[in-house]
Amino acid sequence: MNSRATGTRGVRIYTGVIGAVTMAIALVPVFGSNYTKTFVMQALMSCALAASWNLISGFTGYVSFGHSAFFGIGAYATGIAIVRGGMPAPIAIVVAGLAAASAGLLFGYPALRLRGPYFAVGMLGVAEAIRVGVTVAEPLTGGGKGLVLIPEDVLTVAYYAMFAVATATVLVTYRVATLPVGLRLLAIREDEVAAELNGIQTTRLKIGAFAVSALFAGLAGGIYAWQMSYIDPGTVFAGSLTVRAIAMTMLGGQGTVFGPVLGSVLLSGISEALWAKFPFLHTALSGVLIIAIVLFLPGGITQILQDRGWIPRSRRL
């Protein structure tokens, strides 16, 4: 297999499509209906979640099944800051992102000492423990009944905020991927012992990537809470959020810059179409789709395009 750069035309098409999609997304609130805005905003939220999951799991190979924990922490931090603290929403969302990043540092330090399935299951346990904790802490969080925020018509502003978070996540991924730090993260995925023996401070890098990953998931959770005006533990800590982020990243290409974007756009669109055509079967069909992605597209669409020489093997894609 020749890995040399090929397919310059492919890159132009690839980046052209990304540019066109970005422009279209930016114009949706101007020309789109409320339904379109809500749908695209959900897709952007998925994109932020998938890209943030990719930052830790796609690059280092540490597959986290607990990514929804940071989304949930972001959502509840925002809700509590607005409802109990009387904070303006934008500040509350920033605080939520920082709270999620802090949680990433706190849980990452012990959890990232585990590897493979132990880490995956460990993070699942962390997410579940936080969900239960939030449910029990009723005076602060509203418990199982959920937390009602001050209802506001903020769809358009929240849309652009989510767009900004998704874009920032992808830009940070691009920056990481094009600097030696990205290669160091990939080295951890390839052979962590060799990476450590070659002087790469693996623990520090993993925890840093985990915290950045949690930051963006938390920001997305905060915007979600603000826009929805209501959150409950079952929704914002749902394991399905993590599963979808994983499936979207796998579909697009793990450890790539635009893979999670591609995956979230495609999977969001397919899920919506399935929901419209098969209202009673769409969940099962989505499950089958995710299984098919795991079985038949482990390297994702990006790898297929690269294998066929349509786009180069560049870390920038």
Partner: protein, 241 residues
């Protein structure tokens, strides 16, 4: 350059180091010092503790007892990445490159220099070992000999003072062998210190100014290659004739 048999102010010292795995004593109270700017061979039959000693020195596994010092600084229980940063780097018996990364990426990944400088340094290292033509090739696609050379180049990226080479000649064709020997000599001239383990005894004898022999985890002999070759204990334990 210091005389090989004068371990005055050793750059690397191993002092009564022991490592057990359950009931097996893999390395038993081994002590030696390595003078700077020398090439030392660490030999012994299979299971004699050579690779375990490499793992202990590089910080991959901790010692049970004893102390290892690099330029006088105790590194015994320091993390492997810290030991590397202090100036000790190693290769592996079976190449441990990052297979889904290109040759140049394998080098840039481990460099502590800023991005642009890292790239320039990686290109220099590739040129040094003659791998510039395959810079953009995935490591997994390189031949075994090229992988060995790439791993050697990777070791040099952070300009270590002490380099441990674990079976660098295993499975390598004569052309690559010669190339590796040339690089080792060139680097020794620049003041680098080598500790090499390999089963290619003729090569080791020719390359090293001193040999340390291990057997059953214990130090059996230590000295000039010509003396070691004639040592009856070594002949009995290692050469078998």
């Amino acid at each position: 350059m210091m005389e090989p048999d004068q371990p005055v102010d050793p750059i690397l010292s191993v002092d009564r180091v022991t490592r057990r795995f359950g009931g097996v004593i893999a390395v038993n109270s081994v002590s030696f010092g390595i003078a700077p700017g020398t090439v030392t061979g660490l030999i012994g039959p299979n299971g004699s503790g050579k690779s375990t000693l490499f793992r202990l020195i590089s910080g991959e596994i901790p010692t049970n007892t004893g102390e290892i010092r690099l330029r006088g600084t105790a590194i015994t229980h320091k993390p492997a990445s810290v030991i590397n940063r202090l100036g000790l780097s190693r290769t592996f018996q079976l190449s441990r490159l990052y297979p889904q990364m290109t040759a140049i990426e394998n080098l840039v990944a481990v460099t502590r220099a800023p991005a642009r400088e890292a790239s320039a340094r990686a290109n220099d290292s590739l040129a040094f070992v003659g791998l510039s033509p395959v810079a953009d090739e995935f490591a997994a696609n390189l031949s075994y000999g090229q992988q060995k050379l790439l791993e050697f180049a990777r070791v040099l990226m952070n300009d270590p003072d002490v380099i441990l080479l674990d079976e660098p000649f295993a499975g390598v064709n004569p052309v690559m062998e010669e190339r590796l020997c040339t690089h080792i000599h060139a680097l020794r001239e620049r003041g680098k210190t080598f500790l090499i383990t390999d089963h290619e005894i003729k090569l080791i004898m020719a390359l090293c100014s001193r040999l340390i022999v291990l057997d059953h985890g214990e130090l059996l002999a230590d000295g000039d290659p010509a003396v070691i070759r004639a040592d009856p204990r070594v002949i009995d334990a290692y050469f078998g004739t």
